[in-house]
Symmetry: none
Subunit: 209 residues, 4 copies
């Protein structure tokens, strides 16, 4: 009875520890990348901040690139989830709400979004993953845009999506400063984005080709 349970829990700590370690490493990487950017961070540094030996870091992330990609992957998944939620609500969702959801993607309490924003930017040319993520963001946004503004050509939707994504990244970047300005800027960006979408929606509805 208890012995069998013991056995189960016997290895649980090991896996548990492994999970905790991966989490710690990822967290350390996230904060370091967010602080200093990909290139300025050393693997030794990441391991040290996670309180792990360098070998452990490489056990889980066999290269620096893998480490960055892992962060991007995790963010990518959370993006997919978020977009799924947004798209399910279809056209019922009001513009301010939509904008809130979008801006929230790259701006959160944790540093994860900041790290992701940095990595997407700086590794776009070198990491396939970063390029993918950026593309995926654009595609999601473009699809939603076309659903709301039916007359939008796919090319224009793409263009608008680029702009929207840039606005998202702007929000992420401005999250790096002190709270006082940050909140103001965030609000402002939200306002700006609403303005933009309202304009486009109105124009589209007005402009009968």
């Amino acid at each position: 009875m208890s012995s069998s349970r013991e056995k189960i829990t016997a290895r649980a700590p090991q896996r548990e520890r492994g999970k905790r370690r991966v989490a710690a490493l990822l967290e350390a990487a996230v904060s370091l990348f967010a602080e200093k950017g990909y290139d300025a961070v050393t693997m030794t540094e990441v391991a040290a901040r996670a309180g792990a030996p360098i070998g452990s870091l490489y056990q889980f992330f066999p290269s620096k690139e893998t480490l960055a990609d892992a962060i991007l992957d995790r963010i990518g998944e959370s993006f997919d989830d978020a977009f799924k939620g947004i798209e399910e609500r279809g056209t019922t969702i009001a513009i301010p709400e939509l904008v809130d959801a979008w801006l929230g993607l790259l701006v959160g309490f944790d540093e994860e979004r900041a790290a992701a924003a940095t990595l997407i930017e700086s590794r776009q040319e070198t990491s396939a993953r970063a390029a993918e993520l950026r593309l995926s963001l654009r595609r999601h946004v473009a699809r939603i845009l076309r659903a709301r503004i039916p007359k939008l050509s796919s090319k224009r939707a793409e263009t608008m999506a680029v702009v929207v994504v840039q606005l998202m990244k702007a929000a992420a970047r401005s999250a790096e400063t002190d709270r006082a300005v940050r909140d103001g800027v965030q609000n402002e960006l939200k306002h700006l984005m609403c303005l933009y979408l309202n304009d486009k929606t109105a124009v589209a509805q007005t402009m009968t080709p």
Copy 2:
């Protein structure tokens, strides 16, 4: 005496040559930074592209950081000039024109603006100069904003300036892709910025506190 004249003429070509060399080095650095980003560029590479020996590079720019700062400085001056021109025209300048001028700051034919955009972004945390430049940009924009929208509090002007600068950088970043999307995005950003300024101006004029 002939000796003194000799010295003068002897050094004149040297200075001339020195200037040309500095220009070549700077140009090489600019194109390289624009292409690959600060970290991926080596000093040896810069010297080689400029056709100069590495020692010469260090003669004029005693460190890699100095080199980056020099580029930032030069851009900073051109910004100051541009803003001076804008501010001289006062409130007479129409919003679309103003927006054109602003967006043109970081997006140009030459690679210098691309390099500057990259450097500001990637070295913001490490280089005082990059931070200064960003601050200077903000201040200039804020001043113009306050001149056009008198009721604007200095705090709100600052906030708006941050947004405007982010938009400028977004334009710079989108310049990295192929021409087809680039032009579309650039136009879109211009439109967006006009929308934003028009809105703020109108609101300010309407909102009687």
Copy 3:
């Protein structure tokens, strides 16, 4: 009692399993060393190919060196057996047969001989066992040589033995290429060795000091 028998039978399979595991590990090591050479093989790799956990590998072979030595030991024993067989047949054995037997020592169907040849070669300076094996080979050959050619001084026998062993290793090395050349080379080496022994025997019989 049943308990004691239980223990016996309980461990019997374990020992059985242990033997099988050791065999699998050794086999894996042999094939890997033969393929890639000592340095290029990792312990993890050996364990993986044997389908055993790394801990198990270290249970039986406490170091990489031990593992290599074990292979050398096993080959050494098989050499001893082979030489015993040869020596028992005394002088009755004809030269071509003798040569066949010798060349067969390091060239066989299995990879074991190839691995051994590699290990003797590459670890000669670092492993006492490899040196021992080489020495043992020489001694065996020298003894047989002196038995067949009575007038041979021990020093000359040693020298000849070195040559013979080198020829054996040459055969082993040539086994690494494609079958077409290999068979030809092997035949040629056999011929060469016969030539050598015949010459020495004749000379010795002729040369009356």
Copy 4:
């Protein structure tokens, strides 16, 4: 006058020093590779033995592989020279002389030949250069063989060449031990090779197909 000459000699020491450094590095690498084999040698070790900082080593040899290849190249050139000399003498050269020349290729006063022998052996699979060198050796030997023994088919010449090269390598390997045995073995190998060539020549002349 003296000034111009001074200028010439002014940089001479620099180049001189560079040459000396390259020589020292190469010599260190040669002796280390000869002693311990390719894998067991570290780049730091090579630099240290040459009395050079690690950076200098990499200045001249951008990778460990390059370093090994450089040694192989140098040996390869000396082989080509030697073979050129041998081939020029055509069929006039007597067998013992030919054998001397061949055995001398991989056995010399310096350690260079020993290092080369080791490198050819251990890096055959990984280094294109090592494989090339081995092939080149075979081809040279085969050509000479066919010139001397006209009836030899190209395939048999190739096979014989393999054997001859193996004999050369055997001589190189036996050079690693103390002088006493070495000289004896070397003589023995020479004798063996003469035996082999004489036999082949005689057989070819006798055997009329």
